[in-house]
Amino acid sequence: MAQAESRLRVSDRDGVTTVEFVDRNILDEANIQAISEEISALIDRSESPKLLISFSNVDHLSSAALGALITINHRVRDREGQLRLANIDPQIYEVFVITRLNKLFEIHDTADEATASFA
């Protein structure tokens, strides 16, 4: 059976897995579920995963996408890993501020800053 087309671009460098989104809008429930499962599989590949999620291509996200990020954060912590978010558009960052999720996640302006922050 053919695999569903990935909605992510994944790269590994210096022990850090970086994930970028193919889609500009992270809104659709089914799409979010697929993305969440794909990232969960990446987390489960290693002990103490270092995961960087870059939002450089993303224009819109929904509360369902925020929920998926929270679930991903739990999964990373369960495996004693570290999660960083980066390259978030100012309008989307405001969504994190309004929901106070900027307190829950470690967010950096750029992917380079986020990569350098891993312990």
């Binding site: 089914a30 929904s62 509360s63 929920g67 929270i70």
Partner: protein
């Protein structure tokens, strides 16, 4: 009928099946009209987010006990002064006043419960009908 604050007079009405293409079409139509009426990109971001949350809530929560082919009704009217959108599901409704505050410390790491809060944060006005199965979103141009 006009005493119901969630009713939009002279609205365009669309019946939506749970189909991403149809949902995107109606949101793009409303945002296209908003742009024609002079609403800027920041307004469009806010309006898109709120409509998305309302429609998701209608299908996911409103219709959780309904047949999967149940439709959601979207009414909209766009003018130079405001964008009004009402979203109605066919479910039993809920009490929006009983929703926990998702920004409280104990709720911060819960994966759901932010949709209504985001609608209220980004819209000028958010009104539910008495049974809680219809919400009217109003975005007014800043004077």
């Amino acid at each position: 009928m006009d005493t119901n604050p969630t009713v939009i007079r002279d609205a365009t009405r669309v019946e939506l099946a749970k189909d991403r293409g149809l949902i995107d079409d109606v949101i793009e139509r409303i945002l296209g009209l908003a742009t024609e009426h002079g609403f800027d990109a920041g307004s469009a971001f806010a309006i898109r987010l709120a409509i998305e949350e309302a429609i998701t809530n209608a299908f996911v929560h409103g219709h959780s006990t309904m047949p999967p082919d149940s439709t959601v009704t979207v009414d909209y009217r766009v003018s130079d002064r405001s964008v009004d959108v009402a979203v109605e599901d066919r479910g039993p409704g809920f009490d929006p006043e009983r929703l926990p505050d998702p920004t409280e410390e104990e709720n911060l790491s819960k994966p759901s419960g932010r949709g209504v809060m985001l609608m209220r944060a980004y819209m000028s006005e958010v009104v539910f009908n008495d049974s809680g199965n219809r919400v009217r979103l109003t975005y007014r141009r800043e004077c």
